[in-house]
Symmetry: C2
Subunit: 96 residues, 2 copies
């Protein structure tokens, strides 16, 4: 079973990502994205969805028009794991 | 400019939809959906996204794995309008 990261590990990993932060009230990481319009926002979500399915690791996310908020956590570990960092890194790579 | 529905109009329209209800703290309608898995949930979202873009009327929505919550309201009218009912009816038609 995958282990959740320690606070130190999590902080170290977040520091290497772009714009991600620890969620306020739970062991998760989150980032807000803003795009030109809905077309661009949903196109981004489609790319993340395909990657998430491939990883069998899915985001929690909210969208309204050009804005997307993504929260990542690993249910079975009840916290942030390397899987979340991997998905966050992919997301960063397509929004550079 | 599109006018928001009166309380009576809104209630009448909601009664003809499936599973939609008035949102708790704002003039909006919402519905929760549950699918077999993420593939089915995101496929549903893609169909709604294409319709929304065609209508130039976009949802606020949240997804985690097989669950989708959709809130509809019309920004420029600051409340529920016929556009929301139209999009809700389309969504109902693809989830029957």
């Amino acid at each position: 079973m995958i282990q959740k990261l320690t606070s130190e590990e999590r902080a170290g990993q977040i520091a290497q990502l772009h714009g991600w932060q620890a969620a306020a009230n739970r062991d998760a990481i989150e980032r807000n994205f803003e795009f030109a319009d809905f077309n661009e926002a949903f196109g981004f979500m489609a790319r993340v969805a395909i990657k998430a399915q491939e990883m069998d690791h899915h985001p929690e996310w909210f969208n309204v028009y050009n804005k997307v908020n993504i929260t990542l956590s690993t249910h079975e570990a009840d916290g942030v794991t390397q899987r979340d960092i991997e998905l966050a890194s992919f997301i960063d790579s397509i929004t550079a």
